[in-house]
Amino acid sequence: MQVSFKKRSPSKKDRAKNLTELKPGEAGVLAKLDLPEDDARRLMELGFIPGHSVTRGLSAPGGDPRVFRVDGSEVALRRETAVRLILR
């Protein structure tokens, strides 16, 4: 199902964006959660549901973890988690 770009080195243009690539205040629509079932479930309960819009908020001093606004609330995620949340 997933399109692979292994032949060419993935440049930002052809690769799907993830949450860490959002600039402060920028919004994107979530496509899928590339995480183990358990973590994905909790994230969906927190509002990270495919098809919903996510906005990048502030971050901790040092840039990690970051706060994302999703479905009426603000949730902080570490970079390693945010990188697995793929945008459309």
Binding site: L43, M44, P50, G62, P65, S73
Partner: protein, 637 residues
């Protein structure tokens, strides 16, 4: 077993003969809701001060039970449960909610009804929880909280329509302001009358499928004309400030320094007032008592012993007030966010920071609070390091020793004195020990892969006077209860042992008493730390609770001194070297001297293994470091 409940023939045969005023069956109503929806605020509103207060705080964190008085002398028990996003538990605290609702919890029968409390300012997402809760089939009142916020931020919805859609009654309330509670009392009244549960006529989505549940919640929201309020503007503004790379940490530092200075200076008048009151009442009672031995017991043993601890109540309440403001305002979640990177360096994560901060008040609730940590290894590591955080029971000992040995001079103008700085140093010492221990544990026995960190940032809220007052009243009760039981008992024991064996019918000089005998017996072990036998007695009694140290010293020095004896601080100053004093502070910073903590660690880790390791490690570390501190200070001075 449960099948027989409704069986009339059987129950008639076994029912006891009706007695006038026989207590009816207990009715239990559970409060369920997502985190930060205001469950505890509602619980406190409904039960007032009638909730059960345990003898140490924290046993009620898991599920708190309280009685709500209804009309005509009837009452109902409400259970406050940990916040959940769904009924699929992921952490220990969520499991409590799951177990209570499904009737699997020991000691608590399955609830008769449910109060489902949701945040009305974020209804669409919170309604997702309504699907699994309504499908339990219990009579449910849906409470939409934060009605005042919803209104002031321009949101709206049709309550009657929502009740239709959900097939359950709905109440729009503001728990913090106490608005709209009548409907809840009405519902609770109905629950005690055993109102038959209404079979929900509505179509619920498949509970396991979160996107479907969320879509269902949206459609309900749309049908009821729900209009989400504007985003919380003040929260954004405050976050821009508190999460600012420079301002944020700076503000935190200034606030913490101010608190330490206040604990030393601000609480002084109150402390002196209580001290004076205890002294005067001691004299007064002394004059009333004819018998010399009895007078000595009451004045020297009890009054000077217990009194020397009670005078620290203002400081402890001040600390609890500060931590209460941090917890209630929503700042704690930001602190966890800021701390996450640092915590990660020591093998933990930001969520461990929240229990560690509350451990500054008391380690017992802090250890309970670790239930929110998903990773079991992270959780055990946090439990093991929590008692290193300077809890409020250490405060009396620190203040006593620092007051006696550290000069009262200004360090940074009038803003920070040397005594406050010394205490801050002890707090930092405990924190550093905790972090290094975490590092040690997480790189050896509790090694695990980096755990994920997901934390919802609640909007900032004004801490209500009511909730803060409840905390302080609660804490005062615990503190005074302990002073009136454990500490009183120890004080009387020490007085008795200090006045035996009788020599020609007269009490011996304290040097020849049983107390001194015990003290001299342990003295060789503690002499290298610079402690004399009196401190040894204090250390033995401090195993009951840390602050007992102060009362024991109060009793011993109280008996030793005469009518014109100087205060406990001066007595200590003459009896202990500077090296011994510093050693004692270091010892208290590290040693594990709290039976309640050991008991709760045993319960939370499910055995004696971890508490035994914790006790041995902390006490060993305390001994070695106190020894080094004594030698270094003695060498230098």
């Amino acid at each position: 077993m449960g099948d027989c409940h409704g069986c009339p023939a059987n129950s008639l045969a076994t029912l006891p003969p009706p007695r006038f005023g026989a207590p009816p069956r207990r009715h239990i109503v559970a409060i369920v809701g997502p985190p930060n929806s205001g469950k505890s605020t509602l619980f406190n509103r409904l039960t007032g001060l009638r909730q059960k207060v345990a003898n140490f705080p924290g046993v009620t964190v898991e599920h708190r039970m309280g009685r709500v008085k209804l009309e005509q002398g009837r009452d109902v028990f409400v259970v406050d449960l940990p916040g959940v996003y769904s009924l699929t538990p992921r952490t220990e605290d969520e499991r409590v909610t799951h177990d209570v609702l499904s009737g699997q919890m020991k000691d608590i029968p399955r609830p008769d009804a449910v109060l489902l409390i949701l945040d009305s300012t974020n209804l669409s997402r919170h309604l997702v929880l309504a699907a699994p809760v309504l499908s339990l089939g219990l009579p449910t009142l849906v409470i939409l909280n934060m009605a005042d916020d919803l209104k002031s931020r321009g949101g709206e919805l049709n309550v009657a329509e929502l009740a239709m859609q959900l097939g359950s009654p709905v109440a729009l309330v503001s728990a913090s302001k106490g608005v709209g509670l009548e409907k809840i009392f009405q519902f609770l009244s109905g629950a005690t009358l055993g109102a038959a549960p209404l079979a929900p006529l509505i179509q619920l989505p498949v509970i396991q499928d979160i996107p479907k549940c969320r879509a269902w919640a949206t459609s309900i929201g749309n049908k009821t004309g729900y209009h989400a309020p504007a985003p919380p503007l003040w929260t954004r503004r405050l976050d821009a400030f508190f999460l600012h790379p420079v301002c944020g940490p700076l503000v935190f530092l200034v606030v913490v320094l101010a608190v330490f200075q206040t604990i030393f200076k601000g609480a002084k008048p109150l402390m002196d007032a209580i001290d004076a009151a205890i002294k005067h009442s001691g004299h007064w009672i002394g004059h009333l008592l004819p018998n010399e031995a009895l007078r000595s017991l009451v004045v020297d043993g009890i009054w000077k012993g217990v009194g020397s601890v009670v005078i620290f109540l203002p400081q402890i309440l001040l600390l609890f007030l500060f931590i209460g403001v941090l917890e209630d305002s929503g700042y704690l979640a930001r602190a966890a966010l800021i701390a996450d990177r640092t915590m990660a360096r020591f093998g933990l994560q930001g969520k461990s920071f929240i229990p560690l901060l509350s451990a500054y008040a008391c380690a017992v609730p802090a250890i309970m609070a670790t239930r929110t940590i998903e990773s079991k290894r992270d959780r055990i590591a946090t439990i093991l390091i929590a008692p290193f955080m300077t809890c409020s029971a250490r405060l009396p000992v620190y203040i006593l020793i620092i007051g006696a040995f550290i000069p009262d001079r200004n360090l940074i103008g009038r803003f920070l004195g040397m005594q406050a700085a010394a205490m801050l140093g002890l707090y930092i010492l405990g924190f550093v020990a905790a972090m290094l221990t975490a590092r040690l544990l997480k790189s050896t026995v509790l090694k695990s892969r980096r755990s994920s960190f997901m934390l919802e940032m609640p909007p900032y809220r004004w801490p209500t006077v009511r909730s803060l007052a409840l905390r302080l009243v609660d804490r005062s009760k615990v503190f005074l209860y302990r002073a009136g039981t454990v500490i009183l008992g120890v004080a009387i024991t020490i007085w008795v042992l200090s006045n035996l064996p009788l020599n020609h019918g007269r009490p011996p000089a304290i040097e020849h008493s049983i107390t001194a005998g015990i003290g001299h017996f342990v003295e060789p072990a503690i002499k290298p730390l610079g402690f004399n036998w009196k401190i040894g007695i204090g250390l033995i009694t401090s195993l009951a609770a840390r602050e007992t140290m102060v009362s024991s010293l109060g009793t011993i020095y109280g008996i030793e001194g005469d009518q014109h004896s100087p205060g406990l601080q001066q007595a200590l100053h003459q009896d202990l070297t500077l090296g011994g004093a510093i050693g004692l502070l270091v010892f208290f910073a590290f040693a594990m001297q709290c039976m309640s903590t050991t008991a709760v660690v045993r319960r939370e880790t499910g055995g004696w293994f971890w508490p035994a390791i914790q006790f041995a490690y902390m006490t060993g570390l305390a001994y070695i470091c106190a020894f080094l501190a004594n030698k270094i200070v003695t060498f230098w001075s």
